[in-house]
Amino acid sequence: MSLEAGEIEQKYRIPVVAAAGSNVVAFGIGANATYNTGMPIRYVGVPFPFSGQPRSVLKGYIEGKDTVSGKPMMQAIIEGLTQPLTEHERMSGILPEAQPEPRLLAADTEDNLQRLFKERCWTDFNPVIIPTQERVAAMLKGTSHKPDEIVKSGAGTFGTRRPFTVEKVAVLAVMAGAKPEYFPVILALASMVPYQDSTTSIAQMIVVNGPIRKEIDMNSGLGALGPNNDANSVIGRSMTLIHKIIQGYDEGVTGFASLSNPLRYDNLCFAENEEALPQGWEPLHVQMGHKPTDSILTIFTGWNFINSTGWVEQHYAPQMLMRDYMSTLSGMSATLIMDPSVAELLNDVQGFKTKDMLGEWLSQNVEKTAASYWGNSIVSSMLGPLGAQGLEPYASWKKVPGETLIKPFTNPKSIRAVVVGGNTASVWFATDFMPEKGTSIDAWR
């Protein structure tokens, strides 16, 4: 909202007042104005929640107080459009850079440094390994890249400029407990910031493909999604530290996830069990156009992680239960994470000779009511306006009676399968995780 307000103010010199809930206001007048837009947009604060409220409540908000200034709402709006600019609001040009962070922290004891790291939120609140110069130097041996090489500049939320170096990533890798051989994977992970945030309970998932999996002993088999492997756990934890320290995620300042998500502790980091794929089923990275010999890291973003609970029953084929569970998902994307035994059943018994064939079938068979579809606010936010502007099938789906069954997965390619696990139970997860383009780990060796 600040970007839009800024565009109107800057390009057309028209005064704007932006109205928002407390989270957007806090970000808009705080970190976003300071580090992103450079414009102190005038905001009024609307009480929360406003979505879905009856008109009587909304009228009360208009007749009530602006939660920013405490003044009557309409008075605050009028003043926002008419009160002369302050010196702060007239400021222009390049300001001095923020006080640069020193390369080294003042020498202190282990206990005091652990305390400092927690106070500065440089942690997931589990103890970290203190990044001494020796440890960081050892980590840097895990890559051929120079310590002072800039990995990325626009690393902050909404791409704000938070340039960081290879050495900075090495510091975080040490803190997470990584071995130097994991470092190329962690650099690839860091090159993908900023990670997506939301007031909703969004989360990320990391999938690693290619030879690096074996080189660093990642777990793609028994217990791969649990806390049972050093590389999986530590690389997953690294993402949390990168998110908080490099991206600058700070609850109440740059991030406002109301519940957040427990998946964010370790970001579902695992390797695909490529060796256990049925014949004809390509590994994820090959599906995305990479060579089998490339080592690739793929970050997924999503909300839902639905457990099959038990194993596949003979009288109900796995794709049938997948179809049932997927009807609760938004329809924008799905990733099925399945044990090799499930993949074998789907391939050998059910005839899905490729992952794409499974996606096609599910796209044709998952159904939900139009009311339920539009009842998901992510769907209604992203696709509702497109339907209102005439784009099919959303335009038709907005017009049909609520109980009408629709097929929400309009794009079969948006349904993916990843195979992982140890063949001890024919279990799977249905998720709505959506991948970004995979990134090369080899480029960071």
Binding site: V16, V17, A20, A107, V136, W374
Partner: protein
């Protein structure tokens, strides 16, 4: 229900749960006890993990209006939340202006795309129509 029967129904071998000595892992005798804190006064120099953010160029806000009477104010629905979540609050705002400040002309517009997309055509339309001010809302 009998515990053994319940475990069997869940597909778990009661024998495995009852005792699997080969899976039991014990800490070596020399390892420090769990939860023990090793306090040391040794001074350590750590490399700073913090990143220095860079400040953007500051841009001044547009000059404000001397008054609203006779002016045209656009109330722009950013479509946050989708499916008309904001139109009610903007309509209440418009009704307030009509009742308390009838000399102010208000026009409600809905942004094209969705809440994460820009609509430069609308901003140009407002400028071309000599819009005097904009209230953007409501995000949350």
């Amino acid at each position: 229900m009998d515990r053994r029967k319940m475990l069997a129904l869940l597909g778990v071998s009661p024998t495995l749960v009852a005792g699997a000595p080969s899976y039991a892992r014990t800490a070596p005798a020399s390892a420090p006890s769990a939860g023990a804190s090793v306090v040391t006064d040794r001074m350590i120099t750590a490399v700073n993990p913090a990143v220095t953010p860079q400040l953007p160029k500051r841009i001044p806000l547009a000059p404000r209006l001397d008054k609203l009477d006779g002016k045209t104010i656009y109330l722009v629905d950013t479509d946050w939340g989708g499916m008309g979540q904001n139109d009610g609050i903007l309509q209440e705002m418009q009704a307030w202006f009509a009742e308390h400040m009838p000399a102010v002309k208000t026009i409600i517009k809905v942004k094209k795309g969705n809440f994460v997309t820009d609509d430069p055509a609308l901003w140009k339309e407002i400028a071309d129509a000599k819009g005097d001010g904009v209230v953007l809302g409501v995000a949350g």
